[in-house]
């Protein structure tokens, strides 16, 4: 079943001389439960695409459907509400709120939706993320890996259907990177959450069901990983 469909998405920054075409007529769709990684050189438009899918940026033209909803046709508030219910975002620089501790950062999206956080689920997630003894710490008191785990916790807490991660391991060492990817993969597999992950790391990309290659705002290649590879890794 199709969860996401992008139709002819273009994104142009600026006008005239200084015009930059970040995305050019990009179309693709993603099935529910799929794990897609996007790779490409720096400046190829990966982040732009992810932000447009996540509803935090608007395309210059084209449409994004999630569960059949044309997300950019909604007004700002509706879109915000859509975001917090259906999308989980993980950034390279964590983007935790420095004033909130780990627990509070994790439950924030949920609470923004006006829902009471389930304490058991919070305990579960914190344990799952390995942050049990860091729950009341502020982001500034955490290592990079811990911060990123907290930000994943935040993205996972409301169980969104679509997880979007923009180079989540870009700032982390190998060991931490592996752990983070493992966490994301697990949520994809265990909870059936669809995962789109931008990465530079070939090894990480290869763990996905499918790799989208980007170059100068275009999709140049859309590879389904061969089953044999999957078998080999399993």
């Amino acid at each position: 079943m199709e969860l996401l469909r992008c139709e002819n998405i273009s994104k142009v920054y600026g006008t005239g001389e200084g015009k930059t075409v970040a995305l050019q007529d990009v179309s693709f769709s993603v099935e529910k439960g799929e794990f897609v990684s996007i790779v490409g050189a720096s400046g190829s438009g990966k982040s732009t695409l992810l932000h447009i899918i996540g509803g935090v940026d608007k395309p210059t033209s084209g449409k994004v459907f999630i569960n059949g909803t044309d997300i950019h046709s909604q007004n700002e508030d509706k879109l915000a509400i859509f975001r917090r219910r259906h999308i989980g975002l993980v950034y390279q620089f964590y983007n935790l709120l420095p004033e909130l501790n780990v627990d509070e950062n994790i439950v924030l999206t949920h609470m923004l939706d006006g829902r009471k956080p389930d304490k058991e689920r919070l305990d579960q997630i914190v344990e799952y993320l390995g942050l049990t003894d860091r729950r009341s710490h502020l982001p500034s008191e955490l290592s990079g890996g811990q911060q990123q785990r907290a930000s994943i916790g935040r993205a996972l807490f409301s169980k969104p259907e679509l997880l979007l991660a923009d180079e989540p391991t870009g700032n982390l060492d190998r060991k931490n990177s592996a752990e983070i990817v493992e966490l994301l993969k697990e949520s994809n597999r265990k909870f059936g959450q669809t995962l789109i992950l931008i990465t530079h790391d070939e090894n990480i990309a290869l763990q996905a069901d499918r790799i989208i290659y980007m170059e100068d705002g275009n999709i140049t290649k859309d590879d389904r990983i061969r089953v044999t590879d999957l078998m080999g890794r399993e």
Binding site: I81, F93, N95, L100, T109, M111, D123
Partner: protein, 954 residues
């Protein structure tokens, strides 16, 4: 050195990038400079203007002394305090053949020494001043009127004094202006401004039927050469029968037996004793003090005004500096993060702590550069506008002496001292504000720029993480609480700004209302006045109607005359009745005692003895004044103040409670210091009580005791012979409660109000009747003329009454002063509040800018604008509450200190904390903060969230 230059260049760039904040800072500093300029130049300008007016009105001298002889002059010269003496001689009048105006047939020949020309503001229109006794200058008015005289001409003079003779056998000859009365058959010397009756005119012929003008030679005669034409001197009033002509005199050429002198004194040396010294030389009536000029020239004997002004000035300057330090400091503190980034970067390439510090001072200096001239110009503009609007009004204050309006324009008095003070104070203030930020910033290391790890440290608070606690709270609630607690430095900035706004506004309001009150009291000594009927345009004040007409007849006549309306009658009298001294409260006696103490050395006067003695004065009673309104009016007033009822046989009265004692009430001596003590209730009796009041007439026993012959004393119609009349106190009121009838305070004088019928009874038990005021409107000129003639006629027949047109100038005087002061205070409060509000705005704006990233993250996670607003409003409310909780007690303490200082200096009066105004202010500041939060947040909301998210860590 080079390195420092780079630091400064980067600083400049940083300022440009943050243009808005830089602008707010510049505006803030400019406002500060403007306020300082306004306060300093404003005071100088006002003083200069007052001095100018005083000089123009009276002259630029300190004292004038009259009727001197050479011996007295020597004595005056020997006085240590006298620095300069100028001599003037009035040689009286001489015929002026060249005059072209029949009503001005004379010249007034005077002789001045060189300084006297200067100090009395004699100004040349043409030619020069006389340099010897043969030369003379003449008033321009003569030329204007067509007199055939010019520079170079010779005028012959032979002077005389003017007398008027009344050849009538009965009936005085009298005019109202100038006030001049010649009884039948007598000859009286004319005042200087007495006009001349021209024979052949209607008035003249009428006058010469029974009167004549007689001249008596002074013995002085001389020919003068005209060497100059002068502007019309102030003493040459249009109605005068002469033109001014002034020649030259010096000490050696003084001719007349008596002459006058003008003195300049060293204002630092003169004290209250100086007046006595002058008096002892020239006699009691032969001197005049140019008090306005002295007061504004900083005479130490006039220190009451100067103390208030200097005190107020110091208060304002300190306040302005404080507010400004807060504003500028806050702005620096708020931009710490950004500054830390670029300075940390510079630090990583080798900038030293000193260089980093210098960047802050440099920025302060750069902001001061445009702010100084702009603020100064704005300040001058403010003073100029204020002077131009208030000037004419201020001049009115000095116009009550009848010399007319001068149309003097206030001139900006920009003294080098004021300019230097403004510049120095501004620089000091700005650099003090930059001190702490500079020290902090010099500690920024390279790490901060790279990782921005600043805000850990203080905000560690492990208790905040209990997971149970966040359940059941809203996202906005949680966020606002965490923002508030974990972003202390920014919250503190806003809390500080709001607290300062509150504190400054309330303190300024309170402080200025103290000054107002003081000025009100000082000016308010014009006592109790009747407001009822003051909208009527005429009043007939009758002390005595004479034998030919009864009071009621007169009232009826006025009522029934053509064109009169709204006729109302009031009666009043001072000292009509006497109140037993025991009925006065302790508060009254204590106040009396404390004021009396100001005229004695401390500890010299025993309280018990003083009070005992006071109580025994005046037959053991104290005089009480009576005001009466028509019975219906009295009943209406009684009803309005919810007075007790009174029965058929009872004599009702309303007592006026508000009173005060002040050292100003005793003019004969000089007190150690000014003191004012409010008396809230001078009476030791209660509403509904019956009190005995005594008539003014002596009883047989009293007459005997005081050695008076009872038979020869005048007797009242109803002679109580020492027995009291019993009055029922139906209410004790403050004049504020009956402002439609009476206002003000009679100082330590006691006052009661009674209905008209009681006034008639009081008339009967006293020897003298109370004064009657008949107030009415009249739009018929013939009727007014008739009343005028009638009153003149009755006066001739032994009566004593006067018809007046409405428009009392005393009330106006107070109103103008009060208006001027209020304007100054309102403007000051407004501007200082504006600076504080600017501070609040810049803090909120700075907070919102620093939260950009957080807002972006929240939005990307699905927060709507209303949720953000909700969060920020909740946070603002927390900060508001914190600010008020902090500011309120501090404000209270400051107000208390202000009141204490003030009361210590000037005496007791009731001051209450402005609760209502404070509440209004809290509502205002809350609304302002919420509105600013909304505006700033909406501005931040428009910013592209992607850009923010892409940026490195929060």
């Amino acid at each position: 050195m080079r390195n420092t230059k780079i630091v400064h260049q980067v600083t400049l760039k940083h300022m440009k990038m943050n243009m808005k904040r830089t602008l707010i800072s510049v505006i803030g500093i400019a406002l500060m400079v403007m306020l300082l300029t306004t306060v300093l130049v404003g005071k100088d300008t006002a003083y200069r203007y007052f001095v100018d007016i005083a000089s123009a009105k009276k002259g630029a001298y300190h004292y004038a002394v009259y009727n001197l002889d050479k011996e007295k002059l020597e004595k005056l010269k020997d006085l240590d305090e006298v620095t300069e003496i100028a001599i003037t001689e009035d040689l009286k009048y001489s015929d002026f053949e060249q005059s072209a105006k029949p009503e001005k047939p004379f010249i007034n020949v005077r002789r001045y020494s060189a300084d006297a020309f200067k100090w009395t503001n004699i100004k040349l229109v043409d030619g020069r001043f006389p340099q010897n006794g043969n030369e003379i200058v003449i008033s321009e008015q003569a030329i204007k009127d067509g007199a055939t005289v010019k520079i170079g001409d010779t005028i012959s003079t032979s002077t005389f004094r003017r007398y008027f003779k009344n050849n009538n056998t009965s009936g005085a000859f009298g005019i109202q202006y100038p006030v001049f009365k010649v009884p039948a058959g007598e000859t009286v010397e004319a005042p200087y401004n007495m006009y001349y009756f021209v024979p052949g005119t209607e008035f003249g012929d009428e006058f010469y039927k029974t009167g004549e003008e007689i001249h008596k030679d002074t013995g002085f005669s001389q020919d003068f050469t005209v060497v100059g034409i002068i502007e019309v001197p102030v003493f040459e009033e249009p109605i005068c029968a002469w033109y001014s002509a002034i020649s030259f005199v010096d000490e050696t050429t003084i001719q007349s037996d008596t002459f006058n002198a003008l003195l300049m004194t060293d204002t630092k040396k003169t004290d209250s004793q100086f007046m006595y010294k002058i008096r002892s030389i020239v006699g009691d009536d032969n001197y005049e003090i140019n008090d306005t000029l002295l007061a504004f020239s900083g005479s130490s004997s006039m220190d009451s005004i100067n103390f208030i002004v200097l005190g107020a000035q110091a208060f304002f300057v300190v306040l302005i500096a404080l507010i400004s330090v807060m504003l500028i400091y806050n702005i620096f503190a708020l931009s710490y993060d950004e500054r830390a980034k670029y300075l940390g970067m510079l630090s990583s390439v080798g900038a030293t702590g000193k260089q980093k510090r210098s960047s802050v001072y440099f920025e302060a200096f750069i902001m001061l550069l445009p702010a100084l001239p702009i603020g100064f110009a704005l300040g001058l503009g403010t003073v100029k506008i204020a002077a131009n609007t208030a000037g004419p009004m201020a001049e009115k204050l000095f116009s009550f002496d009848g010399t007319g309006v001068l149309n003097l324009k206030p001139v900006l008095a920009v003294s080098p001292a004021a300019v230097i003070t403004v510049i120095l104070l501004s620089i000091i203030t700005v650099f003090i504000s930059a001190l702490i930020p500079a020290r902090k910033i010099s500690k920024v290391g390279p790490i901060e720029s790279i990782r921005g790890t600043k805000k850990s440290g203080k905000s560690r608070n492990k208790a905040k993480g209990n997971p149970d606690r966040l359940i059941g709270r809203s996202a906005a609630g949680m966020l606002s609480s965490r923002f508030f607690k974990n972003d202390k430095s920014k919250s503190l900035g806003i809390i500080r700004a709001v607290a300062i706004f509150f504190l400054v506004t309330v303190a300024v309001y309170f402080g200025t209302s103290l000054v107002m009150m003081m000025v009100d009291y000082k000016l308010g000594d014009n006592g109790l006045s009747i407001t009822y009927g003051d909208d009527r345009n005429y009043s007939m004040v009758v002390i005595d109607t004479g034998d030919q007409m009864e009071r009621d007849e007169l009232i009826d006549m006025i009522k029934n005359s053509e064109g009169t309306s709204d006729v109302t009658v009031i009666r009043f009298d001072s000292w009509s009745l006497r109140l037993p001294s025991e009925l006065l409260s302790d508060e009254y006696w204590n106040a009396d005692y404390e004021i009396e103490c100001m005229f004695h050395e401390p500890g010299e006067l025993s309280k018990d003895e003083f009070i005992k003695e006071q109580k025994s004065i005046d037959r053991g009673t104290t005089f009480i004044s009576v005001t009466a309104f028509e019975d219906e009016v009295f009943d209406k007033m009684a009803k309005e103040v919810k007075a007790a009822s009174y029965g058929e046989g009872e004599i009702p009265c309303i007592l006026i409670k508000n009173a005060y004692f002040s050292t100003d009430q005793f003019l004969s001596e000089r007190p150690r210091d000014y003191k004012y003590i409010e008396v809230k209730d001078p009476y030791a009796c209660n509403d509904g009580e019956v009190i005995p009041l005594y008539s003014n007439a002596y009883s047989r026993a009293e007459a005997e005791e005081y050695g008076l012959e009872w038979d020869k004393l005048p007797h009242p119609e109803i002679d109580l012979d020492g027995a009291p009349a019993n009055f029922k106190v139906i209410k004790k009121v403050n004049t504020d409660e009956i402002s439609d009838y009476m206002e003000g305070t009679a100082g330590s004088g006691l006052n009661i109000i009674v209905p008209m019928s009681v006034a008639e009874y009081i008339d009967k038990i006293n020897v003298q009747e109370m004064v009657t005021g008949i107030l009415f409107n009249c739009d018929n000129e013939a009727t007014v003329k008739m009343f005028l003639d009638l009153s003149n006629q009755l006066n001739d027949l032994g009566g004593n009454l006067a018809l007046n047109q409405a428009g009392s100038s005393v009330a106006e005087f107070r109103e103008i002063i009060a208006y001027l002061i209020r304007t100054v205070l309102i403007v000051f409060t407004a501007i200082s509040s504006a600076i504080c509000l600017l501070n609040v705005y810049s803090s909120i704006s700075g907070l919102m800018v620093s939260r950009r990233k957080q807002f972006a993250v929240l939005k990307s996670m699905g927060s709507t604008f209303s949720q953000l607003l909700n969060t920020e409003i909740k946070e603002s409310i927390r900060m508001l509450i914190a600010a008020i909780v902090i500011a309120f007690p501090i404000t209270g303490i400051i107000c208390w200190l202000l009141a204490k200082t003030f009361i210590g200096q000037f005496g007791y009066f009731t001051v209450s904390f402005p609760w209502l105004q404070s509440l209004g202010l809290i509502i205002f500041i809350a609304a302002a903060v919420l509105l600013m939060t909304f505006i700033c947040l909406r501005r931040e909301n428009k910013i592209d969230i992607i850009e923010e998210i892409k940026r490195e860590s929060v």
